[in-house]
Amino acid sequence: MINSRDLLQVILWLVWVVFLIDLVLALFVFVRRFARGRFFKAKDAACDKYRSAVDALVQGKSSTTALETLRQGRSRPERDAICELILAWLPDARESATAALMHLGYLSDWARTAFGRRRARQLYDHMSSGVALPPASPRRLMGLRRRALFAVPRATAVARLARLAPATARPFMMEALGDPSPLVARVNVIGLGRNRHPDVVPILLQELNVAVTDDARISIRTLKTALARYSVESFVDFLPYLSAPNARMRFLVVDTMREICARDTAGQIPDSISQQVIDHSTRDESPDVRARAAQLLRYLPASGAAGALSRLLRDENEFVRLHAVRACMASQFACLKNELLRCITDRRWRVREAAVEAIASAGDTGLDQLAEQFLATNDRYASEQIAEHLQRSGAMDALLASLAADSPSRSGGEVCRKLHRLGKVSLLFEAVENHSDPRVRERLFELLAGEPLGAAFVPVLKRLSVRGDDLLKPRAASLLARLTLVLQPAIAEGRD
């Protein structure tokens, strides 16, 4: 049984402990600030001191002297400063910066952190002298190694190794593929993609295959990002996976190939791949594969691809048709123009929208075709989709300006009329009030006055009858009076 005196003692001790911890934490903050302040001051000073030596070393001028100077920097701020100065050269002078890092011992440090002393030595010897690399010994304590606490320093070391010149970095990054930690795997894969080692593609594809079928260390997106950095030349490694048993893998492979084509515009896709895509991927049982294959067709010669694309434009799946329509934006598929126009009346809005954008991408010709289609179609959804595009793209401004032409195109006026009937009146009303060209205002007013008008026009007429120009003021007042009789309730409520 605890008596009150003992309880008081316990509380007193707790109070002492709590205040002591408070004091320690507060002191920690100040000590850390001071220490970091001193560290960064020393680092800035080291940057100033060693900058010229680093520049000389990386540029190959007075290398021996520069190296000797840099080796004098032994303290942590100096080592950090020198490392950062060299790393800043990496994008432009990768080989010489890598050599500098090697000579100054950074590479060995990072390798030791990532792989342990013994294995780092073996990798270093293999990289520098071509000595055969012995197989890695089985790693112990894999569970612990996977933990972030132990993996983060390895990940940072691997991330730095990955930035080195590809030939130097390669053995270390291949070794890091065996690391059990997802954190290390991620930075490693990102680095592999950035470096674009050709013989790594099969390994990345294998990891991707594991990721789609299993709970993998590396996310699919990370692997895809790395693979997408390669060029069309790597497609030969992708070929076996185009017929992988897993539909998701087939989809990812085709999609990654599409991404590569979008970046590597100069690359030439091998005929074997083209044929495989046209004959098999576009007929795949999975709609996701067919959809991405459709997009891939835009990078193939039209002679083989047009037929497949035409078939995909009539696919039963919405997303396949959508991607096929987008692929038709490529100029070599002008022969599919009529099919594209048909897609404006597709039953799915995404396909309609994509068709409108694909037609509009042909510039003025495309806009003219859209205007024709807009006037010709009775399909309300198609009409609304084209109206949407006319507004969002800014084409309305050109259309309205055309009303002021000495011989205005009939279609410009007709388009405005149809927009009015669809209820897409905001830009029209804004133009009749505020367009900079009085001829546009006048012609638009005549147009609208000839249409059945609703309550939405009343506030515009009111403003025009008060603030409009001399030409429109009386007309607006007259029209307002006529409309008032017809629309009395709406006017009373002041509704737009």
Partner: protein, 475 residues
């Protein structure tokens, strides 16, 4: 006899308060340790800047930034400027004006050259037609829509209906988002093998900072004690509460001021609702319920490096409104989802996070408020001797200070945003000051919010903002 009864009641009440004190502080201590571990590791890993690769990666999903706005004329332009400046490959910004009575829309129109247009509106969530759309073809990533005033959840749902992207990010209309914050927020989504449906970021207080062109150009602390206390409080919430739960895979709350969500999942869960006054807490619970019911694999994360700056209340009155609403919303959410409490079906959230938020965060403030009066009363009536009273008071203040100072330490070891030594000293000072009155006042506000729930008052109390500064001035 009466005195005896009173003493017994007092003794039992004190026991409840003491039990709550021990339970709450044990939980906070565990959270702090877990957060210390995960936050420090994350900040060490973040130096590798793996998020930078997302900038030109083909797999980085487009994001719709949805900004519901009601009477935010003072702040909205700066917010939109900060969103337009975001370093992200593909984004759309949708400002949803919720029937503002000031010139929120007019300021956007004037600043961004917007024009009224008539767009197609497709409802995935039932909202009704918007009143108007405003758009500029030369700035296609920005869309402003005006809807009938129906509350924030309705505005968010309207924004979701217009969004084209597979993910959307809710952003409060008085926030400034750091340039690479969206990349950092998206990083856990892209880098995970499991569908990440929610990714939350940190909210910091911009009071005292200089805002220019939608960016925080100088970080400083505000001059008023009330705002300084809130800064310490926000650091504590965002650096050790939420990372701790995220590390335990038990996220329950992410701030709606800056939160990334998976659109299809939110639509499947029915979107934002007006069932509570804190739609951001409610949506997380609804999402979890929906995903568990449909047996989807998912995770919800909180990351400590993407940062959103917001304006904190500058007066006690506004602070009271804010905290009452938050507490009312939390109470509404936990009671609405009471079946999740101790439910193994919901994993660590059901077994740990929900009970914690229900009993300690939501209802616990009633016990805390009771203790604020009870402990001194017990001393005054002689039920608690002076030494015990003083020691308990010192322990309560000391332990609260420990948690606050612990969060200042976390701020130090993460991407610390307060550069000067003076800032560190002030934060430590206010980590103490916060526990000498401010916390007690906020506890009373929170208790009031919970009592509002039990007395059936459910209205949204608007907090009036002064705005995150005109250009070049301090916020």
């Amino acid at each position: 006899m009466l005195q005896h009864v009173f003493s017994v009641i007092l003794e039992y009440a004190n026991s409840v308060v003491l039990f709550y004190f021990i339970a709450a502080n044990v939980c906070y201590t565990v959270l702090m340790i877990v957060s210390l571990y995960s936050v420090s590791l994350h900040s060490r890993y973040a130096v590798n800047k793996t998020h930078v690769d997302l900038q030109d990666s083909p797999v980085t999903p487009p994001v719709a930034l949805i900004v519901p706005a009601y009477n935010e004329a003072e702040a909205i332009v700066q917010t939109v400027l900060s969103l337009l400046a975001l370093n992200y490959p593909e984004k759309e910004i949708i400002v949803v004006d919720d029937g503002s009575e000031d010139d929120t829309v007019a300021r956007l129109i004037a600043r961004f050259g917007l024009r009224k247009m008539d767009f197609i509106y497709r409802e995935s969530l039932p909202t009704g037609e918007p009143r108007a759309f405003y758009f500029n073809p030369e700035r296609p990533e920005l869309l402003v829509m005006a809807v009938e005033h129906s509350g924030k959840s309705h505005a968010l749902n309207s924004g979701i209906n217009m969004a084209r992207s597979p993910y959307f990010c809710t952003v409060d209309a008085d926030c400034i988002i750091e340039r690479d914050a969206l990349l950092r927020l998206m990083a856990p989504v892209v880098q995970s093998g499991v569908n990440t449906v929610v990714s939350g970021g940190i909210v910091r207080i911009a009071n005292g900072c200089t805002v220019e062109g939608g960016r925080i150009t100088r970080v400083d602390l505000p001059k008023r004690w009330l705002e300084r206390c809130q800064i310490v409080e926000y650091i504590r919430t965002f650096l050790f509460g939420r990372p701790g739960w995220s590390a335990l895979n038990a996220s329950f709350i992410t701030s709606g001021a800056f939160c990334l969500l998976h659109k299809a999942s939110v639509i499947g869960a029915g979107g934002f609702t007006a069932h509570t006054v804190t739609e951001d807490i409610d949506i997380i619970a609804n999402l979890r319920r929906y995903l568990v019911a449909n047996r989807y694999s998912f995770r919800m994360v909180f990351t400590t490096d993407p940062i959103c700056w917001t304006e904190a209340p500058r007066s006690l009155n506004m602070l009271a409104r804010q905290r009452r609403r938050w507490q009312l919303g939390l109470a509404q959410t936990v009671i609405k989802n009471h079946d999740m409490i101790f439910s193994p079906k919901y994993g660590m959230t059901g077994m740990l996070s929900m009970p914690f938020h229900a009993y300690i965060e939501a209802m616990g403030c009633l016990v805390e408020a009771l203790g604020t009066f009870l402990i001194p009363l017990s001393f005054l009536v002689g039920a608690v001797p002076l030494p015990t009273f003083l020691l308990f008071l010192m322990l309560a203040v000391g332990y609260g200070t420990l948690l606050s100072i612990g969060s200042v330490v976390l701020e130090e070891i993460t991407i610390g945003r307060y550069p000067k030594l003076r800032h560190a000293a002030l934060l430590l000072l206010y980590a103490v000051v916060e526990n000498l009155g401010y916390r007690q006042i906020v506890t009373l506000f929170r208790a009031h919010g919970v009592l509002q729930y039990f007395f059936g008052r459910r209205r949204w109390e608007a907090v009036v903002h002064k705005g995150l500064a005109a250009e070049g001035q301090s916020a």
